[in-house]
Amino acid sequence: MTNTRQPRGAPYLFLSPFLLLFMAFTAYPLLRSMTLSLQQTFGPRATQFVGMDNFRFLFADPRFWKALKNTAVFTAGSIFIQLPCSLGLAMLLNKPGIRGRAFFRLIFFSPSLVGLVFVAMIFSIIFEKRTGLLNVALHHAFGFNVDFPWLQEYVMSALILASLWMYVGFNMVYFLAALQNVSKDLLEAAEIDGAGFFSRFINITLPAISPVGSFVVLLSLVGGFQLFELPYILLNGSGPNSQGLTVVMYLFQTGFETGDLGYASAIGWVLALLLILFAICQRVFSSVRES
């Protein structure tokens, strides 16, 4: 039986709560931040229109470039170190003969269930000089310098290591799912034809998992560019010589520590445009490859 009383406007009515919330908490703040990026403010009374001054200042600001460089290095580290590790783990755990596969999957995935703040606090203890777990263990094993200054001079390495521990298992799950969909017939046929492991990997596995791979790359890219909590807690700020300063942290410091909301909005918009650009590049790259 059909409902003959359903009015045409009902969908809009039921969509309206979402739309209202979207307008209030997403669209309006977006527009407001756009106008803020053209102003300098100190509360509702002290507001001054400065045009593109915030953007001009931003592009000449060495700290912004430093933050952008740090963020790019971290993101590159995430992509070029973390993702191969994730793929390697996924391939290991995808082998049929391995005992306790489910257990190992859970073990490798479990760090991503821990909160980022908690991870940062754990690693701030692990990376301590002289008493930290890492230095002490390496010292006993290899005579490593127990005073090695991870959080003073090797900040980016420490950040990449911490994020590797946290996310390698998370990305492994994506790759594992993709690997399970690689055609076994093709792999067997290639093996019968005499193709070796690397040949099969390059010519069959990699093309088959590349859609998932590019999705994971995009996720890592976006996640890397939004990095904030990990360095903020691990280093209690941006760290010595601002080695842990990221774009989002600079936005936070500018907006909420110095109180320059206009400049912070400008930073936010540049970051948003960068991420949009990455997403477009990824789409173009994917469609070119598919065609």
Partner: protein, 480 residues
């Protein structure tokens, strides 16, 4: 035989039937259930919009210092017995308090009537035009009531902006040097001979002769590292330097600052090294202190209270001495940390002010503050109180209160600039580059490092000045 339709085809056919048979009706033609949902939405929206936000009766006070709560509660209880409106005390974390304060100042969200806030959080309240600072300007009132003379004068400086005072100082926080008396005395070192930092380095260096199995010193005389901006700032202030002048202009590249950072580099690298990294408030740092890996530390009064809680093992093993001076006869103290009581702009100022005065000029609060936290009051008339002179077994029977009070009038003045955090970071960067330079050139003589230190500090100053120049409000105030 009739061919069976697929599920997709069936759904599609049904959907077309619905579309074909649907009568064209108005938007407002809804089922009873939908009307009930709409009604609930409208009523709840109106209720939320119209319902008045319940205002707690009385005056609200926010503090971020957990230790202050048990001290203030009895005073507030007594106040509430005799006065109206009553005062309600709330404990917020420091960051939350800072954010809610700024939110209240910038967008008029509800604020407490009295706010007790730390120095690290208060600077941004002074970033805008003077008339838009959210706290009541207490300058005239403080002078009229003689409070400026009654309290330790330098302690007003972190709460003053552009010549106006916006808060009552809660503390002085003078700094001394704490040392492991058991180790120093066993080594036969006479600390009374230490007058300057040069004396300190010379007399304490023999402590480093005790080596471990790997040939590294078992002990370092000083707990200090080039990545500790608070301690670096304290030493800079002690030497008579600082990062901003009274008008808020950056003065980072001064000779005094260059000398201090050159000396810190010489203490943390090369053959002249006497310092090691044992960060405060961390388990690892505390472990190193217990082991005696670091022998002396910079200690403002409040840190004594923290150590008593975190390091009870050191009871009876520590002694205090004034900081070594940078020049013979120079200042033997510095300052680190601080809290103020501010009053957000309110029509009820006359109701709030008597309570604020009562709280900060209360002898029982001052006594408890000292007994539980080792913090001395900025109210000079209380400095004669007998409890400050009592021996403290934690510090081997010394009287830290009297010792800190003797140094209190000499604490350096400090800036309240919202850009001070940034300046501290830039000076830290300068220190890092200077240390790299010293290592690369195998140059650890502080006097030889001064030209490079000045160059690095000049870059730090230009970076801060650049950010300052971007603040259109400060720029306008300065230009006229």
């Amino acid at each position: 035989m009739r061919k069976a339709s697929t599920p997709d085809q069936r759904i599609s056919t049904t959907h077309c039937a619905v579309r074909a048979s649907r009568p064209r009706r108005g938007v407002l033609h809804l089922s009873a259930g939908a009307w009930i949902i709409v009604l609930i939405a409208v009523v709840s929206t109106c209720a939320v919009a119209i319902w008045p936000i319940p205002k707690r009766s009385g005056l609200d006070m926010w503090t971020s210092a957990r230790a202050h709560v048990p001290m203030y509660e009895p005073v507030i209880a007594r106040w509430n017995e005799d006065h109206s409106p009553p005062v309600n005390l709330f404990l917020l974390s420091s960051d939350v308090l800072g954010r809610r304060m700024m939110s209240g100042f910038l967008s008029q969200t509800p604020l407490a009537d009295i706010i007790e806030i730390e120095r690290s959080q208060v600077g941004r309240a002074f970033a805008g035009p003077l008339e838009d600072v959210g706290f009541v300007d207490l300058t005239e009132r403080i002078h009229r009531e003689g409070l400026y003379e009654q309290m330790n004068e330098p302690s007003f400086s972190p709460w003053s902006s552009r010549g106006h005072i916006f808060g009552l100082p809660h503390d002085v926080h003078p700094m001394m040097l704490v040392y492991r008396a058991d180790i120093v005395e066993a080594a036969g070192i006479d600390v009374s001979k230490i007058q300057t930092w040069d004396d300190f380095a010379r007399l304490m260096r023999p402590l480093m002769n005790d080596l471990d199995r790997e040939g590294q010193p078992k002990r370092y005389p000083l707990s200090l590292w080039y990545t500790s901006p608070d301690q670096v700032e304290a030493l800079v202030l002690q030497a008579g330097g600082g990062y901003f002048d009274d008008q808020g202009h950056p003065v980072i590249d001064s000779d005094s600052n260059a000398r201090v950072i050159s000396t810190i580099v010489s203490w943390t690298a090369g053959p002249t090294r006497i310092a090691a990294d044992a960060p405060e408030f961390t388990g690892s740092g505390n472990e190193l202190r217990i082991q005696g890996f670091v022998v002396c530390s910079l200690m403002p009064d409040w840190l004594g209270g923290v150590w008593k809680l975190d390091l009870p093992q050191l009871r009876g093993k520590l002694k205090l001495m004034p900081l070594p001076a940078w020049t013979r006869g120079g200042r033997r103290t510095s300052v680190w940390g601080g809290t103020m009581l501010g009053i957000p702009k309110t029509p009820d100022l006359e109701k709030v002010w008597p309570f604020a005065r009562q709280l900060y000029f209360n002898e029982s609060v001052a006594r408890k503050l000292y007994e539980t936290n080792d913090i001395i009051s900025p109210v000079k008339s209380m400095w004669k109180s007998e409890f400050y002179g009592l021996p403290d077994p934690y510090f081997s029977g010394q009287s830290p209160g009297s010792m800190y009070i003797a140094l209190a009038p000499m604490v350096p003045r400090r800036t309240s600039s919202p850009y001070n955090m940034m300046a501290k970071e830039r000076v830290q960067d300068a220190l890092i580059f200077l240390r790299e330079y010293a290592i690369a050139h195998n140059q650890y003589d502080p006097y030889q490092l001064i030209p490079e230190a000045k160059r690095q500090l000049r870059e730090a100053q230009e970076s801060v000045a650049r950010q300052l120049s971007h603040n259109v409000f400060l720029r306008q105030e300065r230009s006229g």
